[in-house]
């Protein structure tokens, strides 16, 4: 049966639902009771195969019946094909760089260095579906589990590569399975975005892809590694803040980066780059191109 139309409706409904949920909860981990005697299990997830590109999907045609839907399909397939063709070059150049392993190692080492978290048994999954999340939480032998979900993708014109991660501390003891990962029930949740822009981006994706791919994707490897280096300081700072410190972040100067489509409140400006609390309450670190090495 042809199900593209229901698919489109689902996507539209999801987009609305996700936009409603995109605001992250403002949480810190209370200093009292941070440490748990049994510690916490860590679950690391990378729900993607290789590096992605943020391709914007066309939905407009869906409003104009079947013909419009088919037009959307065609536009989306062209966009996906273009992105996949460009990605192929970078992915081939990135061969041998094991993002999954690096994400796992970074989470394990960095969160392990925060002694009060008491990171113990660690597991890794590519599936970040609600079933998998609930199953992992059920299987944890500790009262709470830490979830680290990673993602990495190029912007749609390949002028920047962003590495993203969301860290959640989730207690086992909440009522319904489906609710345990809701913002209202988690002890801590924060999303981080580390943006590595090209120093001299071209206006077109083709030439930007060439820059990222050159020398066995030297720049792309450095960009991801530069973000992994910032994982621990960012997460530690966010988790260990007092509620007052966190609240004060909202009083930062207004910040807009049109090239990378980021706006919010400036947390700090250093040689490394600009750290921003964006409008969706994510911590966004826009690296200075010179800091990518």
């Amino acid at each position: 049966m042809h199900r593209t139309l229901p698919n489109l409706l689902i996507h539209a409904a999801l987009a609305v639902a996700l936009s409603a949920c995109s605001t992250q909860p403002s949480r810190t981990v209370p200093s009292q009771g941070r440490a748990l005697s049994a510690g916490r299990e860590l679950v690391v997830m990378v729900p993607q195969g290789e590096v992605d590109a943020d391709v914007s999907a066309s939905w407009i045609g869906g409003m104009f019946g079947v013909v419009g839907t088919l037009l959307d399909s065609s536009i989306n397939q062209d966009r996906a094909t273009d992105a996949e063709n460009r990605l192929k070059t970078v992915r081939n150049a990135l061969y041998g760089y094991n993002f999954d392993q690096r994400a796992l190692d970074t989470a394990k080492t960095s969160l392990g260095a925060m002694k009060w978290l008491g990171i113990g048994k660690t597991s890794f999954f590519k599936d970040a579906s609600p079933d998998r999340l609930n199953h992992s939480l059920d299987a944890a032998t500790t009262q709470q589990a830490v979830f680290a979900v990673f993602h990495y993708a190029f912007t749609d014109n390949f002028n920047a590569l962003s590495t993203r991660w969301t860290i959640s501390i989730v207690p086992k003891t909440t009522a319904r399975d489906g609710d345990r990962f809701d913002n209202a029930h988690v002890i801590y949740r924060q999303s981080f975005v580390c943006v590595s822009p090209l120093a001299m981006p071209a206006n077109d994706a083709f030439n930007n892809t060439r820059q990222w791919s050159a020398g066995q994707a030297r720049l792309a490897r450095m960009a991801i590694e530069a973000c992994f280096t910032r994982f621990e300081p960012l997460v530690r700072r966010s988790m260990e803040m007092t509620p007052a410190q966190r609240e004060a972040l909202k009083n930062g100067a207004n910040f807009t980066d049109q090239r990378n489509g980021i706006s919010g409140k400036l947390i700090e400006q250093t040689k490394v780059g600009n750290l921003v609390l964006d409008d969706s309450n994510r911590w966004v670190l826009i690296l200075d191109a010179k800091a990518i090495k």
Partner: protein, 195 residues
Amino acid sequence: MKRAFFVLVVGLVGCTSQPMVVRKAPLPVEPSSIAAAPVVPAYCQLDVQKITDQRLDPVTLGRVDGRIVRAPDDVRGWLANELRGLRARGIQVQFAGAASTKPSLPAVQADVELVSVWLSSMATTKVATVVMNFSYRREGRLLTTAVYRGNLNVVNWASTDAEIQQALDDAFGQILDQAAIDLQRMCTLPKAPAK
């Protein structure tokens, strides 16, 4: 109005998808195309010495329109079945451990590594990607290593088992096409002189 709402609800419920486990063997080729396709005589033999899986999570193969896709339990058996598709490209395939006879065809040995296999979707398109690394040897000497990528993006009609399986098989098929071209060249290389 009520009817439209009902249709929408049924449509949405219909899309609530169960996880899918891919077949251990590729989909059989349509009988009509078998009849039409010329029988390719084998001109080369590939002895697969070792099949390894580099992935940290051997279970999950991705997500198509919200539907989780999983690998069969026996990953090596699955990969072996996919590799058997080389036969249709003129390459006889033999696996280590199987009763073997001295090959009557020029033979190349290989270690095969699955680097990545992933299914995803973007709006109305689904993407299947497979990356494999072949290390080719002949009489104990390393000939070359080759990284093959199969990549397919096609319209996602209904996220059915058959269309997801077909996309994956086709991505594997692209890898086999590339491997067959390399093997054709390697099998025609003169053997190293005996010392």
